[in-house]
């Protein structure tokens, strides 16, 4: 607990968003240098190149994609929502499943349900995403076995002509498997953490006090124990987000979903440096946004953390 709070406390949003900015710059600088060395040789000093690049990035001008012959920002504007939708759905599902599941397993500590679920979750956690993705496609989408789900893409060929609800159903039908792949690792991990946190708190003295006061079991669990064990869960949000962005590269590649991940993958394989750098930058910015959300969530969840007198 103390450790979690000490991690959480000094993160005031301003310094957080300023700090990572600086680091991303360093990373960008490396990228820029590598790129320029490859493309133009070392004709200008690095800081000049870097300043130029930064000036353009602020205006959201990432240059042109070499492969697509279109401005990179246009490409990204097209692809970003797809990845975001995918990740947000996955994120909601992860939290919706793992919070109740974690509480339940903690309450039933060392009983049958707890044991079974922890074994299953542990195995889920160790399953490689690409393997599962491929097996799912192979068994449920292919001509070889069952073809319940579409193997690739986000919508069927004729989807544009459909009215809204069939279109939505079509879209959801396409999203089932990718979202499944994107979520299972996350909720296995998160459930474990929720369970551990809840166990810690259920053993604590104040829970015994609450029980002794004669409060009902539900109130004790949700008011007292759960509220206190939610902080590490929020911390995980900050680490889960980068992992999911990375995972979406693999998933978008397997399911050929035209999102940021696939864009990044293709850019890397075709050495489309402008796109690579743009995607890396956007990924970093998205992450910062996630961290900011996590920080705000801290303050909402735990009144002990306040940003006014943090460092």
């Amino acid at each position: 607990m103390v450790f979690a709070i000490s991690r959480a406390a000094p993160g005031d949003p301003v310094s957080l968003s300023m700090g990572p900015g600086g680091q991303m710059d360093a990373e960008r600088a490396v990228n820029v240098r590598e790129t320029r060395m490859k493309l133009y040789g070392l004709d200008k000093p690095i800081h000049v190149q870097y300043a130029n690049w930064l000036r353009r990035v602020v205006r959201l001008d990432f240059g042109d994609s070499i492969k697509h012959h279109r401005p990179v920002s246009e490409l990204i504007k097209e692809k970003l929502p797809i990845t975001l939708i995918l990740n947000i759905i996955a994120f909601v599902i992860i939290y919706a499943v793992s919070l109740p599941l974690g509480v339940l397993t903690a309450v039933q500590h060392r009983q049958f349900f707890d044991r079974v679920s922890s074994i299953v979750l542990f195995m889920l956690w160790s399953l490689p995403v690409m393997w599962i993705g491929q097996m799912l496609i192979g068994y449920f989408c292919g001509p070889t076995f069952k073809s319940w789900f579409p193997p690739a893409g986000l919508s069927s060929n004729y989807a544009d002509q459909l009215p809204f609800f069939p279109w939505l159903a079509d879209r959801l039908w396409h999203l089932v498997l990718p979202v499944l792949c994107l979520t299972y690792t996350g909720f296995a991990y998160l459930t474990k953490q929720v369970r551990a946190g809840m166990l810690d708190n259920l053993r604590a003295d104040y829970v015994r006090t609450a029980r002794a006061k004669g409060l009902s079991n539900i109130v004790v669990i949700f008011r007292h124990a759960f509220r206190n064990s939610i902080i590490p869960v929020i911390t995980i949000m900050a680490t889960l987000l980068p992992a999911m962005l990375g995972g979406s590269v693999i998933i978008e590649r397997i399911f050929s979903i035209p999102g940021m991940g696939l864009l990044a993958f293709e850019a890397v394989t075709t050495r489309d440096y402008n796109v690579v750098m743009a995607v890396a930058t956007i990924g970093g910015v998205l992450n910062l946004f996630g961290l900011l959300l996590a920080d705000i969530a801290y303050a909402v969840a735990d009144p002990r953390i306040s940003f006014e007198n943090a460092v």
Binding site: F3, G19, P20, Q23, E27, W125, M130, G138, L241, V249
Partner: protein, 399 residues
């Protein structure tokens, strides 16, 4: 009562023994540890398990041993490392019986230093002196033509880089237990050889990140204050970067090689070690033995790594096992996307990516077996880490 057990009871139980006892209570943990050792054995002896060169063969009444002539330089290096690794395990056991617990860490440290330096020197010597041979003789053709007799082959008589387009994409059969891949190489053989990549990536990458993380965390935790504040911002920043994106970006700019992948994974994943060590050092800093070390005027290096680190290393060990699992995972993902080692060097992720052939056919044996290999390895490491964490946690021990 024998003399040895008397001495043992005199020494009491050391922390390591306590943790080991807790750890080995669970059969699952022991099983997983055994499985990991088994994997290492497979990786070390891969050329003897799966090779298209026979152990012994009689050609023109003369006995030849082609398999030993064809060992590569890397094979020799791996054997050397394996021998000394095993020696180290034996030494640890011996220490436990003979050496007083108070000086055990120092002796262990010295042994590790000596052993690893021998391995490094040996590797360099091997690299210099062992010639690179290329034996393209097809011994099976020799046997078929009747020129050679009495051949003794490895259990899986195929080379990992064999191409045989007549036998492309064969499902499992009696000849090829796990089928063949897109160029006709035996999948089982490539699996065995591929274990080397996965295991070594896990070890080296985590080694790099653990060293960086421990040093950074030690400095942050010991000094605290401003150093800590700035350092922790850096750590938070590193954590905020989507690692996989970063790795892909870097891989795009650097040439493909195993070492590069190891280094990249190592450099990008040191933050968790730094955080754990920092938290431990915060606790340790105020303790008496550290104060004593400071007041004795010991150099900083000695205080940090001789006195504090052995007391704060336990959570890092847990993290190391998880980290190895993660590194294997990342390597497999990279190879799957095609950024891994270049073929024909086998790696599990790359084999997995062949599961959907270029014509869009789903080849289940090419997906199932490499995926299973990755899964089991990662699962074993994770389970060992989990059991280790439980063993270290004093709260659970009391119950």
């Amino acid at each position: 009562m024998s003399k040895q057990s008397q001495e043992k009871s005199k020494w009491g139980t050391s922390y390591g023994e306590l943790v080991w006892r807790e750890f080995s209570k669970s059969w699952l943990a022991r099983f997983c540890l055994g499985f990991i050792f088994f994997l290492f054995a497979v990786a070390v002896f891969a050329p003897f398990l799966a090779n298209d060169k026979p152990f012994a063969i009689r050609i023109d009444e003369q006995l030849h041993f082609p398999i030993f002539r064809n060992l590569k330089v890397s094979d020799y290096c791996i054997f050397l490392a394996a021998i000394f690794g095993y020696l180290q395990v034996l030494l640890i056991r011996r220490n436990h019986k003979r050496v007083d617990p108070s000086i055990r860490p120092a002796i262990l440290w010295r042994q590790i230093c000596i052993n690893s330096s021998i391995v490094v020197i040996g590797t360099i010597l091997i690299l210099i002196f062992v010639p690179r041979r290329l034996d393209a003789t097809d011994y099976k053709a020799l046997i078929a033509s009747g020129k050679a007799t009495n051949a003794v082959f490895a259990p899986i008589p195929y080379g990992y880089d064999r191409t045989n387009l007549k036998l492309r994409e064969q499902p499992p059969s009696r000849q090829h237990w796990l089928g063949t891949d897109d160029v006709g190489a035996d999948v089982l053989c490539r699996l065995l050889h591929g274990s080397r990549i996965s295991l070594s990536v896990g070890f080296v990458a985590v080694g790099i990140s653990a060293v960086i993380g421990v040093i950074a965390g030690a400095i942050l935790g010991y000094f605290g204050g401003k150093v800590d504040f700035i350092g922790m911002r850096v750590v938070e920043i590193m954590m905020a970067i989507p690692v996989f994106f970063l790795i892909i970006t870097i891989v795009a700019f650097f040439p493909r090689s195993l070492l590069n992948i190891m280094i990249i994974i190592g450099i990008t994943s040191w933050t968790s070690y730094a955080r754990f060590i920092r938290a431990e050092f915060f606790k340790l800093r105020k303790q008496d033995f550290v104060q004593a070390a400071i007041s004795l005027g010991l150099p900083l290096r000695s205080i940090l790594f001789r006195h504090m680190l052995p007391n704060g290393i336990a959570p890092v060990l847990v993290n190391v096992t998880f980290g190895i699992a993660g590194a294997i995972f990342i390597e497999a993902a990279l190879s799957f996307l095609g950024f891994g080692v270049a073929p024909p060097t086998p790696s599990w992720g790359q084999m997995l990516s062949l599961g959907v052939s270029t014509t869009g056919r789903f080849l289940w044996w090419l997906s199932l077996f490499p995926g299973l290999a990755i899964f089991l390895t990662v699962l074993a490491y994770n389970l060992v880490g989990e059991s280790l964490r439980d063993a270290i946690d004093p709260k659970l021990r009391i119950q």
